[in-house]
Amino acid sequence: MSETPTFEHSETYKRSSERRMRLNMGPQHPSTHGVLQIILDLEGEVVMRCDPVPGYLHRGTEKLAEERYYNQIIPLTDRLDYVSAFNNNVAYCIPVEKLLGIEIPERAMWLRVILMELQRIASHLIWYGTSLMDLGAITAFLYAMREREKILDIFEMACGARLTYSYCRVGGLLADTPPGFEEKVAEFVKDFPKAWKEYTDLVSKNPIFMDRTMGVGVVTPEDAIDMGLTGPSLRGSGVDWDIRKNEPYYGYDLIDFAIPLGTKGDCYDRYLCRMEEMMQSNRIVEQALKFLKPGPVKAPDPKITLPPKELSMSQAEAMQRHFYQVIHGFSVPVGETYGKIEASKGELGFYIISDGSSHPYRMKIRAPSYVNLQSLPLMTEGRMVSDVITCIGTIDIVLGEVDR
């Protein structure tokens, strides 16, 4: 381990003396949201140096992807940010579809929007519950799980899985949603504002919570941009940037929603941004439901999407197609492209280089948690140990995505 300070916080560093103590927080610590180790150099209770050590969950997703067919990579993407797996599926499919030059059908597009926004709510609820639990508020966690459960039920209805969906396919979705799906989503959308009010009433004006978060972990807009922060962490610092608004994809330009912004860039502002985003996501789902019309959910390209099951069971050609695709995959034109979405943590991008075969030559995942985690030393150096916990909570990291 190198002893040189990573960042230019050396004024605090210079004051160091023999009283300095090194504390290993993690890798098995309940408030690091997974297996993250943070090496803290302390002087009394003040953090002199903070060095996050990710990598305990590294599974080599990018390497594995180089040997798999394009559709076989989807289950790998589930396991990146495992509390918002559907967003990862979509973020991966976008560049592949772009390389292939295919458009997905309208129904698939709106279903993706609805499920992505529901997933954002679910992901923010997990963040709400766990980050407050780090601060000692256990009740909030139990409340958050209640609404999240309803979202997981909707996902279970759509695709049968509750955590790792793999519901997206290149060119659309695995299958259409069952009857009753839209009613169930509509019911959730109707009930959610009431539940959301409970969450904010419980926490937002709580004096202990405000003491712990206000003025803690301040990131100025300039620093936020320089550190490459994206998502609510960037907007908490007051930078107006959301891919859904500024570079709209998937009909987000047809939808009316607001981008909540912070002013001070502290943990409290990031908290407020995420809370408000849940309500905005709820609005998006409500409007997207109106756009949802019956229709196909797979692109009509026989080389890319599997034929319907009834056909492959009754027609020889369809069955051949089915077998050929499962065994050989499909090849993608030579080229490279970068696809991105506004995921719940920030900009999630997949950069794919194709050499014309049925595997990607190189796939790079631009994980928002990884880049955002980098700002932890900036937020915590020179502050108290307990603030480190607060800051990890409001950066909202998922270690599956940090380590890949």
């Binding site: 590294h58 390389l99 490459g228 492209t337 970068y338 190189r362 880049v371 380590d403």
Partner: protein
Amino acid sequence: MPIQESLQVVVSKLQDKFGDSVLSVQEFRDEVTVRFKPQVWIEAHRFLKEDEDCAFNMLIDETAADYPLRNERFDVITHLLSLGKAHRLRLKTQTAEHIPTLYPVWKTANWLERETYDLFGIIFDGHPDLRRILLTEDWEGFPLRKDYPIEGYDI
């Protein structure tokens, strides 16, 4: 679909400024890739960040790709984003092992370069803290190189 007007301005400005050091400009699926000589790697990024028409204030990603059959086997790739103008650009250069660090231009480059070093073994000259980040410190080899077997090595 033609590329954004603001990007066309960026590309012509780059060609004016760097001349022969711009090796190629590629457009594919509405995305622009500019390939530079490694000598101007830092200047190009600094220019793109500071010029008013380019205004690329955010480094979104920095990574690499391995082409083992080439003499200079690695492509170093960066993705830039301009928050003000909402345009993006991809920059590439080629190297055998060494490339100057972008850390003085963007602090984001710190971990992105550490990761690239960790998985490819590309050395970023001038990086303040170049050590492994995802793998353990005693790891041998660089897994994302094409000659590294996918199932790893027996110990």
